[in-house]
């Protein structure tokens, strides 16, 4: 029932339109876009979730790695001494990350 109710408003919204076009659009064709939309939205939702998972996972790794690399760089600089890390290696590393 719940699922039927959930579909009802959509159907009911489409009904006036289908009324005006009932002669042109068979019921089966009216319902297909909804399924397509649902499928697309579900797919997008899944992709979004997947991307979010990847970003979170990678982000944590990257953050950790970045902390190791940049925090040392910036820590010395922020603390007020000359850069201690090998900045040319860091630059190479950064370039690779950009690539």
């Amino acid at each position: 029932m719940a699922s039927t109710e959930a579909l009802l408003p959509v159907t009911s919204r489409q009904d006036p339109l289908s009324e005006s076009r009932s002669d042109q659009i068979p019921e089966t064709r009216q319902r297909r876009p909804i399924k397509v939309h649902l499928a697309v939205y579900s797919g997008l939702l899944l992709i979004a979730l997947y991307v979010a998972l990847i970003v979170t996972h990678d982000g944590s790794t990257a953050q950790h790695g970045a902390k190791d690399e940049t925090s040392t760089e910036s820590r010395a600089r922020l603390a007020g001494v000359s850069e201690k890390s090998n900045d040319r290696v860091s630059r190479l590393s950064d370039d690779r990350k950009v690539e």
């Binding site: 190791d68 690399e69 040392t72 007020g80 001494v81 000359s82 890390s85 090998n86 860091s90 590393s93």
Partner: protein, 554 residues
Amino acid sequence: AFAWNNTMLSWQRTAFHFQPEKNWMNDPNGPLFYKGWYHFFYQYNPNAAVWGDIVWGHAVSKDLIHWLYLPIAMVPDQWYDANGVWTGSATFLDDGSIVMLYTGSTDKFVQVQNLAYPDDPSDPLLLKWAKFSGNPVLVPPPGIGAKDFRDPTTAWKTSTGKWRITIGSKINRTGISLIYDTTDFKTYEKHDTLLHQVPNTGMWECVDFYPVSKTQVNGLDTSVNGPDVKHVIKASMDDTRIDHYAIGTYYDSNGTWVPDNPSIDVGISTALRYDYGKFYASKTFYDQNKGRRILWGWIGESDSEDADVQKGWSSVQGIPRTVVLDTRTRKNLVQWPVEEIKSLRLSSNKFDMTIGPGTVVPVDVGSATQLDIEAEFEIKTEDLKLFFDDDSVEADKKFSCETSGGSTARGALGPFGFSVLADESLSEQTPVYFYVTKGKHSKLKTVFCTDTSRSTMANDVVKPIYGSFVPVLKGEKLTMRILVDHSIVEGFAQGGRTCITSRVYPTKAIYGATKLFLFNNAIDATVTASFKVWQMNSAFIHPYSQDDIGVPSR
């Protein structure tokens, strides 16, 4: 990043250069000789192989080579050094007692100067240090940034009997050295004038200031002055991480210093360097035990921080060097590894070889991981004459180690020298070499270089070609000395007029696969090389124990 394995990383640890058992090290601090022991303090992170949480590490030695690790000397335990016990210098007072001035990074990251002294002066090991209750003794003066005020020097005596120190700083882009006088090291009187300043050089850190004799080859106490003395200012350039020095005249009356040659003043790109490789934040001290001035220099890594973390340590110190004015040129210093390094020499091989253009010769010395090489080179006289008499050959004004193609770029009279830390197939090698060309007025121009560009197959390593011009006077042969100790190579040309330190991380040329080659990549010159190669022992640097008391130098 390159897939380093433990076999490769373990090999990189040095055998006779000073480094802590693990973790991060940088600047040398407060070196001194006291009651029979050389003391060495250093900027140390006991918690990781990267910079941070800086304390003062401490080690002692009877001979500047065989070091014993001691407990940490000072930690950040006060508000005025809560963010780090940073670089400092020692001064012997007239009664033989020691005062140590060091920079503290306060709880608010302000750079201030603090006073410390041995808690028990009767202890030859100086294990415990006390911080003055009135610290900080100096704070950044008006006009100086809170983070632009660091690294006090050893104090020297003025003609009026006061003590004088200098501290590096900057005003806008002008690097400066501030001057303070004191009688008790607790209160200070700031000079309105500066010891020296050079525009567009940025922040000066780890400033060093000392006299050198114009006539003698011995070192001088920091307070010595007089007509036979020149004064050296060294500053470490925050912007470029290069240690530049200049020679000049010091005026005691107003606490100022004037360079002999303003075109090579401290910090400008043409200025002299202690070392044209990896060498920074150096500091000298007067060794009253042997009447010499000793130079310590921090040798950082050229690999990635990830690799440092993986191997668990980062940085070494160069072999301590004696430093004197070059009494022949009077324009530069000469640096030479302390004589005690010879105590590590084991078996040796002597060679006399004549090698034609385009020749590479293996030098059979067995494993070539720990070596001391002393060599003399002569270019065949006819080849030299042909080259210099040829008017079509113009003066080579542009040649530089960094930009002229390294050891594979062939010229009429060079490059020639040694490939160290090489594998059998030369797929990895670090050439240390001379390149001779025509200078101004058809005079010989010689450069000394180290080419690390093919030193390793690893890709997460900086591999520069280092080097510079080296003066060769009439009648002198070309001479070089090379110390090879796993991942560090120190080169000295013409008795130490030009020095190059490099860090090298081979992946194949390690352990028994490490070879030594002699090469002559010149097009037109036949070269005679006379050289001796010593295998070097380990210094067996280890933590101090009671068994070490009274052990004479090995």
